[in-house]
Structure formats: C-alpha cells, structure tokens
Symmetry: C2
Subunit: 136 residues, 2 copies
DNA sequence: CGGTATCCACATCGATACTG
DNA sequence: CAGTATCGATGTGGATACCG
C-alpha cells in the first residue's frame, strides 16, 4: 500500500469507477481532468474518454460551458478547429476534485474490502431476507 | 457576499442542487451529512431528506452499509428500533465532502451567474443552431 | 417503526447513421 | 473535424400500497 493505488479512472473496468464521488454527470469530471494540462480539441477528448459517443461528449461540453467551467473557441479554418479549455472558475474545481481523488487513493481498498465482505456474509448469515445480488 | 451562501442542500429548490458534486447517488451525500452528528433512526433520516421515499432511502442505506460507510444496528425491542451510524471509514468521507461544500459556498454564485448569462445570450446571438432550453 | 413490493415516469447513456 | 439526428436500452427515482 506504499503505492497509493494510482488508479486510472479512465479505464472502464477500473475500480475507481466505484468511488462515491461524481462531478456532474458521468463524464464531466473526466473532461475537467483532461483539460487540466491545457486546451484540448474535441477529438482529443474522445481518446482518453474511451470512446464516449460524440453526442454525449457534446452534451457534457455544453453543460460545462453553460455553467462557466470551460470555454469553447472556434477557429475559422479549414478543416475546422475547436478548442475547449478550463475557465478560472473551472480551475477551481480541480481542488475539490483532488480531494476526492485523494480519498479514493487512500480508502478505495477499504471500500472494496467492505463490499467483498458484505457479499460474503450475505450468503451465510441471518438477514431476514437476502435480496438478489446477481449481476449479469 | 460576506455571508457565504449558507445554502441548505436539503431544500428541494435550493440552488446547491446545481452543484457538480455528487456523493454516490442522489441521496448518499445527504445521508452522510445527516449522520455526522451521531446515530440516527430511519424515520429521523426521512425528515431532513424532504420525504425521500422509504424505498429509495432503504436502497441508499443498503449501498452505504455494503460499502462500509455506515453500520446498521437493530435493537430487539418493541417497537423495533434501528440505528444507522457512520463507520470510521464513513467519517473519512466528511473531509472531501467538506471540500465540495466549500467549493459550492465559494463558487455557486458564479456558476449560477454563468448559467444565467448563457441563457441570456442563447436567445440573441450567432450560434448556428440554438437548441431548445425549455424546462417544463 | 421500519421497512417491502409493484408499477411507472423520466433522465441518461449508448449505438448508429448522417452532415456543414 | 466537429459535430447533429434518431432510436432504443437501462437504470434511478418517485408514488402508492402493504407487511412483520
């Protein structure tokens, strides 16, 4: 546990998808993180976000733009180019986001452990009624 | 703005419902906060949560219990009594939760302002295609 | 009191196809 | 390249009624 679970939240099967924290919708937090290093283009965002569909990415970007978290800059060129970047307000999200990430790095293993223990006991003990835990 | 928008996130119409932060599902974060001051009973939780339905509250509590964030203690009395309380692990959530709340208190007004400005310009300016923004 | 059991409305996400 | 347009699956929450 010296290495603090450098979890890659962009990995679909990554356990950090299990964190109780969510920034806005499913993708907004990741978009914020993708923009931390500077402006990014639409297509650039689609890569780390594991093939989020353009529709959903557009919706996410519009929502973030609407709320003043990012800017959308369109350059009149051919081929067209559009860049998204964090606003100062959007940058303020990085701080609490870091707090959430830190929590995950410190405690995710405990959460997973508790969850596993719960699954185990659910099958043996005295809960009056055990509901289904089947996962497809 | 000296008063930092002591927003009551438990109020249904409260603008803090607009914050980009969410702990788990819709209610989990509020439950954590409700338990900050000590153990609470099922019915006690329903009050500040503005009449969340028992079904949803049960689901929320089960999920938090499963993940080791809260404990469920049943006392064999008549009438039956059940208490929910934060585990040590659950208490660790209070710190990042505080970071999120602080963000809201500091920046919620800016977010709302940006949103309002966006609504305003959406009706007058040169976006190639203005989508509907109607809210029922 | 502390929940369950159904049923349903709605929002969100995804897949696919197409366009300025 | 940077989206838009549809359609459909899924799932999360709410309303209501009932139970040990």
């Amino acid at each position: 546990m010296t290495e603090p679970l450098r979890a890659d939240m962009f990995q679909p099967g990554c356990p950090s998808n299990v964190t109780p924290f969510q920034i806005g919708d499913k993708w907004a937090g990741m978009v914020i993180l993708c923009l931390e290093g500077g402006p990014r283009r639409f297509s650039q965002l689609r890569v780390p976000l594991r093939r989020v569909t353009p529709k959903v990415l557009t919706e996410t970007l519009r929502a973030l733009e609407r709320d003043g978290m990012i800017t959308r800059t369109r350059y009149d060129e051919v081929p067209p180019r559009v860049e998204y970047a964090l606003t100062p307000l959007g940058r303020t999200l990085l701080e609490p986001l870091a707090a959430c990430r830190e929590w995950a790095e410190r405690h995710l293993a405990e959460l997973l452990e508790a969850r596993a223990a719960y699954e185990r006991t659910a099958y043996e003990t005295s809960r009056t009624d055990v509901f289904e835990r089947s996962r497809s």
